[in-house]
């Protein structure tokens, strides 16, 4: 109990850091993931190749390696002055976007082909038919896998803690260096992660329920 009470503000800071990194990365992952999924089913070949390359590259690279690239190569080669939070969001967000893209694509595949054909037949462009007809019907099937992906993302953000970001994992490192009992630290840190992952769980359950009613 001492660990928590003595360092309440540090815990709060770490908790806030993990939540912030998770939420911002998730938003990046959703936007990029949907665009990449659109690329993968696009009638334009170069876009399909780009989408496939994006997914293959990011999904099959260990996240730690992506962090190494983001923190040591990107600042050297491209942008020297980026904030560590931005780099962490880029690594987590792009990595997760590959998984989101595949979940969205599997959702798109559950919408009968005739829906897209009918949309194109009345003169909607590809982007319009995706946005107005296919994606709204795909959403229902994308929600369950997305919740797993975002829970995984929450836990993945711990890697950012090892790269000097203030988050829960970072706090646990600091506290164990301060000499607190490692078991107690981990119990509290685990509880904090559970709060976030359970919140995601609940949020998606509500979302799933909403979408079921809407039809």
């Amino acid at each position: 109990m001492d660990v928590l009470l003595d360092n309440l503000s540090l815990f709060r800071e770490g908790f806030y850091g993990t939540v912030k990194l998770t939420v911002v990365s998730a938003l990046v992952a959703i936007v990029v993931g949907v665009v990449i999924a659109g690329c993968r089913v696009s009638p334009v070949l170069p876009l399909r190749i780009f989408g496939t390359a994006w997914v293959t590259l990011l999904r099959n690279t260990p996240l730690t390696l992506l962090f190494l690239v983001a923190f040591f190569i990107v600042p050297k080669v491209l942008y020297p002055d980026l904030d560590s939070f931005v780099l962490a969001v880029a690594a987590c967000g792009f990595y997760t976007s590959a998984f989101v893209a595949e979940a969205v694509r599997s959702g798109i595949n559950t919408v009968p082909l005739g829906q897209a054909e009918a949309a194109r037949a009345i003169g909607l462009t590809f982007a319009q038919s995706m946005r107005l007809v296919v994606l709204p019907q795909a959403t229902r099937n994308v929600v369950p896998p997305l919740s797993s992906i975002f829970i995984a993302l929450t836990k993945n953000t711990a890697i950012a803690g090892a790269f000097d970001n203030t988050d829960l994992f970072n706090v646990s490192k600091t506290l164990s260096n301060d000499g607190y009992d490692i078991v107690m630290i981990f119990i509290w840190i685990t509880l904090a992660y559970l709060i976030i992952t359970y919140a995601i769980n609940g949020l998606f359950r509500v979302l799933e329920h909403r979408l079921e009613v809407a039809r």
């Binding site: 009638p43 829906q115 009918a118 037949a121 003169g123 039809r215």
Partner: protein, 258 residues
């Protein structure tokens, strides 16, 4: 199989709305469309019939490029079909299409189905689009169902909504890809009546169907396809009473002897 030379009405070229020239298409090893030449004049109702797998649905779908072709040329109202993109979308808006499986947008109400294209493609104001949509739904006899979702309607009602959705774009030509093949027998007539009315109103129509009654009564011309070729073209009376090719005789004897 005997090939019969195809006679065509000599119509002035200016009145040709849909022109297919030397169209070929393969599905893998299957040569599904073989050197198709077909011209459809403005206001003409052309019914395409033939055995399953003869390529008639594929032919219908190539006209608005839902199926790409390997060689040949297709033009609509004098303009060749463009590549996939904004231009093609613009052209498709002028070509109404009715599918065998209706394909109404499942997440939108009947009214929204008929309004979507007007609002998003034609940029019509919502109020105006709704008025037109309600008018069209009344015309096809499903005005009272406007606020329901497609799944709540019978097949015949859904197909009539699909016709209204296509008409809402003010198309130059309507393509019907087996519009009654997925319907229960008692619902076929309500759809055919709507189509017959359209034909009387002077709409240019390409209809792929197995409804010989419709072909007889509404068509200006019957196109008979078999094995990816147009085997015979004739006015309905001539085709049904005196088909020239053996393939057509064989086909008609199989379907009319019941």
């Amino acid at each position: 199989m005997t090939e019969v030379s195809v006679t065509k009405d000599a119509k002035p070229a200016a009145d040709d709305l849909v022109v297919l020239k030397g169209v070929n298409k393969h599905f893998g090893a299957l040569h599904v469309l073989q050197d198709i030449d077909l011209t459809i004049a403005r206001g003409e109702v052309v019914v395409v019939i033939g055995p399953s797998g003869s390529g008639k649905s594929t032919l219908c779908r190539t006209i608005n490029r839902l199926e790409t072709i390997d060689s040949g040329a297709i033009s609509i109202d004098g303009k060749p079909l463009p590549q996939e993109g904004k231009e093609l979308a613009k052209l498709r808006a002028d070509v109404g299409m009715v599918f065998q499986s209706f394909n109404l947008f499942a997440h939108k109400t009947v009214l929204e189905n008929v309004m979507l294209g007007q609002v998003k493609v034609r940029r019509t104001a919502k109020a105006e689009a709704e008025e037109k949509a309600r008018g069209l739904l009344d015309r096809v006899g499903v005005g009272s169902q406007a606020d329901k979702y497609p799944a709540q309607l019978s097949g015949g009602q859904q197909q009539r909504v699909a016709i209204a959705r296509a008409l809402a774009m003010g198309p130059k030509v309507m393509l019907f890809d087996e519009p009654t093949s997925a319907l229960d027998p008692e619902m076929i007539n309500e759809v055919l009546e709507v189509m017959q009315q359209l034909a009387r109103d002077g709409m240019t129509m390409v209809v792929v169907t197995h409804e010989m009654g419709f072909a007889r009564s509404a068509a200006n011309r019957v196109v008979f396809m078999a094995d990816g070729r147009i085997v015979e073209e004739a006015v309905p009376d001539q085709f049904f009473s005196n088909p020239r090719s053996d393939r057509a005789k064989d086909f008609l004897s199989k379907i009319l002897k019941h």
